[in-house]
C-alpha cells in the first residue's frame, strides 16, 4: 500500500506543478460563477447577477420550466460542452506527457527497480492521470451543487454524478492515450492518436444518430402518405358517386403522386437499412463517450416535470401538443404545398422525439459496461507491452 500511496502522491505533486492544471482549475471556477449568475424571479429570469433581466411567461421563479432549464444548462451545456469537450481537450494536452515522461530513459529505471510489480506501477500511474480530471470535475460540481441549491432550491447529490461520469468518459480516451504513449513514448503522437480516436467515435455516433433520424423520418413519411392515400381514396369514392370525371382525374393524379412518394420513401429505407446495421455494429465496439456524459442528464431529469426532450423539441412551450398539431393540420387543409410543409414539420419533430427516445432507451448498464470492456481490453494491451518491455 505504501508504494501505491507514494505513486499517487507523486501524481498529485505533478499536477500541482502543472501550469495548465491551475489554469483549467481557474477556468472551472469562472464557469461555475457564470452558471451561478443565472437566476429567476417572479416575472422571468436574469443573468450576470441581475445585470440583464428578461420577462418570460414560462420561465420564472418556481416554474417547472425554470428547474428544467437550470438543470439543462448544467447537464447539457456546461457538463457536455465545457467538461465534455473544452476541459477534456485541455486535460488531454496536459496528461498526454505523463506516460512518455515516466518512460523516458533515466526516469523509468528509478521506479521499475523497486519492489512493486510493473502492472501495479502502471495502473497507479494511470489512476494518477485520471486524478487530473477527477479533481477538476470535483471542484466544478461542488460549485454547481451550491449554485443549483441557491438558484432553484435543489440540493440534489445526483449533481455529483458528474465526477464519476466525466472521469469515466475521460478514461475511455485516456486509455488510448496511454496505449500509444507506451508504444511510442512520444507525447505528441499519443495526443494526436487520441484526438483521431475521439474524432472517429464522434463521427460514428453522428453517423448512427443521423441514419436513425432519417429512418424515423422515413417511417413517419410512409405513415403520413398512407393516411393521405386513405383520405384520397375516400374522397375518390365520394366523387365517383357524384359523377364528376374531372375531379376524379385530379384525385387519380394525386393518388399516383402519393404512390410515387411512397416508392421513393421505401427506396430510401432500403438504402439506409444496411448502413444502419453496419454503423450500429461499429458503434457497439467503440466506447460511448457522449452517452456516458448523457447519463447525468437522465439522472437529473427525475427532478423535472418537463423533460429535456420536450425542452429541446419546443414541446414544453406549447399548452397542448395535440391541439397544436390539429391547428397545424387545419390550416390550409386543401392546399397541397401547405399540407406538405405541415407534414415535413411534423416529421422533423417526430423524428427528433423518436431519436431522443431511442437515446433514452439505451440502458445505462450497457453504455458503461461495453465502454469499460473496451477500456479494459486497451489497458490490458498497454500493460502487456509495458510488462514485457526492456528499458
Amino acid at each position: 500500500m505504501i508504494p501505491i500511496l507514494a505513486l499517487l502522491r507523486e501524481s498529485w505533486l505533478t499536477l500541482r506543478a502543472e501550469r495548465l492544471f491551475k489554469v483549467v482549475l481557474a477556468l472551472n471556477i469562472l464557469v461555475v460563477f457564470a452558471y451561478a449568475s443565472l437566476g429567476f424571479d417572479k416575472t422571468g429570469f436574469f443573468i450576470f447577477y441581475g445585470a440583464w433581466h428578461y420577462e418570460n411567461e414560462f420561465i420564472y421563479s418556481g416554474s417547472p420550466l425554470a428547474t428544467t432549464l437550470y438543470l439543462s444548462i448544467y447537464s447539457a451545456f456546461i457538463v457536455n460542452i465545457w467538461l465534455g469537450w473544452i476541459a477534456a481537450i485541455l486535460a488531454l494536452i496536459s496528461t498526454s506527457s505523463i506516460f512518455p515522461t515516466f518512460l523516458s530513459q533515466g526516469a523509468v529505471e528509478l521506479v521499475l527497480s523497486r519492489p512493486p510489480r510493473r502492472s501495479t506501477v502502471f495502473l497507479t500511474k494511470y489512476a494518477g492521470g485520471l486524478l487530473w480530471v477527477g479533481l477538476q470535475v470535483c471542484v466544478f460540481t461542488i460549485g454547481a451543487f451550491l449554485a443549483s441549491g441557491w438558484r432553484i432550491g435543489l440540493w440534489d447529490p445526483a449533481i455529483f454524478l458528474a465526477i464519476p461520469l466525466i472521469t469515466l468518459f475521460y478514461s475511455f480516451l485516456f486509455c488510448i492515450n496511454v496505449l500509444v504513449g507506451v508504444i511510442t513514448r512520444s507525447t505528441l503522437v499519443a495526443l494526436l492518436a487520441t484526438m483521431v480516436f475521439w474524432s472517429t467515435t464522434f463521427a460514428i455516433r453522428q453517423a448512427d444518430d443521423l441514419i436513425a433520424s432519417r429512418q424515423f423520418a422515413n417511417q413517419f413519411q410512409i405513415a403520413q402518405i398512407e393516411t393521405r392515400i386513405g383520405e384520397l381514396l375516400q374522397t375518390r369514392a365520394k366523387i365517383e358517386f357524384d359523377g364528376s370525371s374531372r375531379a376524379l382525374d385530379d384525385i387519380d393524379d394525386q393518388l399516383a403522386r402519393q404512390h410515387d412518394r411512397i416508392d421513393d420513401a421505401l427506396e430510401t429505407s432500403e438504402l439506409l437499412d444496411p448502413w444502419a446495421v453496419w454503423i450500429s455494429r461499429v458503434r457497439a465496439i467503440v466506447p460511448e463517450t457522449a452517452r456516458t456524459i448523457g447519463l447525468l442528464q437522465r439522472s437529473l431529469e427525475r427532478h423535472t416535470d418537463i423533460s429535456f426532450t420536450d425542452l429541446m423539441t419546443g414541446k414544453a412551450f406549447e399548452e397542448d401538443d395535440e391541439q397544436a398539431i390539429a391547428e397545424e393540420m387545419a390550416y390550409g387543409e386543401d392546399d397541397e404545398d401547405t399540407r406538405r410543409w405541415q407534414e415535413r414539420a411534423q416529421r422533423r419533430r417526430a423524428s427528433m422525439e423518436a431519436t431522443m427516445e431511442r437515446e433514452q432507451a439505451v440502458p445505462a448498464w450497457w453504455i458503461i459496461t461495453k465502454s469499460l470492456i473496451f477500456e479494459c481490453v486497451v489497458l490490458c494491451g498497454a500493460i502487456l507491452i509495458f510488462r514485457r518491455r526492456d528499458f
Partner: protein, 314 residues
C-alpha cells in the same frame, strides 16, 4: 565467502539480433566492492538492469540475496543508482526521497528520519527543501546516491556513481563506499573512470562484447604483471648494453617480470655511467593497463568492434 550475487549464463539478445550478453557468469561476494568494467556497449548496464528487473534476460540462472534473479521483493534490500538518472525536476529533494522511499515500502516515520540522515551523508542537508530542477549535475548525483542508500540496502548497484561530481565529491564518494563496505554492505560499481576504482575495488570483472574477459581480485589479475621502475638523470647506457628486457622512455626504465635482486646491478651500472638515480620502486599494473590488456585479449579472440555483437550468437 558467501555469494550475494551469483550470475550464471546470463544471456540477453535484443530483437533477436543484438547479443548484449553472452553466457555471462560471475559472482559477487558479501562485503566486497565489485567493479564491472568494459568499453561502451559491452553489456555492463544491461547486466545491472537485469539484476534490477528493468531488462528481461533472454536466459539467466543464479541468485541475488538468496532469491532468484528477478524476484521483486528482494529489491527491498537492494539500492540502485542508474546512469543518466532523471528525477522529477518539480520535486524538492525531500519530496523525491519520500517518493523513492515510499516505493521501497518504507513507512513515513522511518523515511523522515532516514532522509535527514542521508542528506547529511551526501552533504546536501541544506538543500532538502529546494527543487531538484535547480540542482547542478553533481548535486543531483548526490541525491541519486541518497535515494540508493535511503532504505539501508544490503546490496548497492551503482552505475557511474561519480558522474558529474567534482573532485572533492568524488573523494567523499570513495570514502563513503569504503565505509559502507567496512560496515558489511556489498557494492557493485559500473564505471568508466578506472583510476577512481583502483583504490576501492576488491574484485573486478571486465566485460567485452557481452562476455567476461577477465574476473578476479586486482592482485590475482595483476600477478606476473608487476614491474620495477627506475627514474634517473643523465646519459644511461643503452638497454642492450645493460642486457635487460625493459623499456626506457624519458629517463624512466620499466622492467617487467624481475625481482628486487635483478634491479640492483642495473642501478650500479647506471651510477657507474654517471647517472643520478631519482627513484626506484616496484609498481603494480594499473587498472587502466589491466583493462587494456583484457581488451586486447578479447580483441585477439574476436577481432571486431568492442560493443555488443550483432547477428547470430557465437
Amino acid at each position: 565467502m558467501s555469494a550475494i550475487i551469483e550470475i550464471k549464463n546470463a544471456t540477453k539478445t535484443f530483437r533477436r539480433q543484438v547479443h548484449a550478453l553472452r553466457s555471462v557468469t560471475m559472482r559477487v561476494n558479501k562485503g566486497q566492492i565489485f567493479c564491472l568494467l568494459g568499453p561502451n556497449g559491452a553489456g555492463k548496464s544491461t547486466l545491472v538492469k537485469i539484476l534490477m528487473t528493468i531488462v528481461r534476460p533472454t536466459s539467466i540462472d543464479g541468485s541475488m540475496l538468496g532469491h532468484t534473479i528477478g524476484h521483486k521483493p528482494t529489491l527491498r534490500k537492494v539500492g540502485y543508482l542508474p546512469e543518466h538518472h532523471r528525477f522529477p525536476l518539480y520535486l524538492t529533494a525531500n519530496q523525491a526521497l519520500h517518493y523513492y522511499g515510499g516505493l521501497q515500502g518504507m513507512p513515513r516515520k522511518r523515511r523522515v528520519a532516514r532522509i535527514a540522515e542521508m542528506l547529511d551523508l551526501v552533504g546536501m542537508s541544506a538543500w532538502g527543501g529546494h527543487r531538484i530542477g535547480t540542482f547542478s549535475k553533481g548535486m543531483q548525483q548526490r541525491i541519486g546516491l541518497a535515494q540508493a542508500l535511503l532504505h539501508e540496502p544490503e546490496v548497492l548497484l551503482l552505475d557511474e556513481p561519480t558522474d558529474g561530481v567534482d573532485p572533492v565529491g568524488r573523494r567523499d564518494i570513495r570514502k563513503l563506499l569504503t565505509r559502507l563496505r567496512d560496515e558489511g554492505h556489498t557494492i557493485l560499481i559500473n564505471s568508466h573512470i578506472l583510476a577512481e576504482l583502483e583504490d576501492v575495488c576488491d574484485q573486478l570483472a571486465v566485460l567485452v562484447k557481452g562476455q567476461v574477459a577477465m574476473e578476479g581480485t586486482i592482485d590475482e589479475l595483476t600477478a606476473g604483471h608487476e614491474f620495477w621502475q627506475i627514474r634517473y638523470q643523465g646519459n644511461a647506457p643503452s638497454l642492450d648494453e645493460l642486457d635487460i628486457q625493459a623499456s626506457d622512455e624519458d629517463g624512466v626504465i620499466k622492467m617487467t617480470g624481475v625481482g628486487v635482486n635483478d634491479v640492483q646491478p642495473i642501478i650500479d651500472r647506471l651510477r657507474s655511467a654517471g647517472c643520478i638515480i631519482e627513484s626506484v620502486y616496484e609498481q603494480r599494473e594499473t587498472l587502466e593497463e589491466l583493462f587494456m590488456r583484457a581488451l586486447a585479449i578479447a580483441e585477439s579472440d574476436d577481432a571486431s568492434t568492442p560493443g555488443a555483437v550483432r547477428g547470430k550468437n557465437t
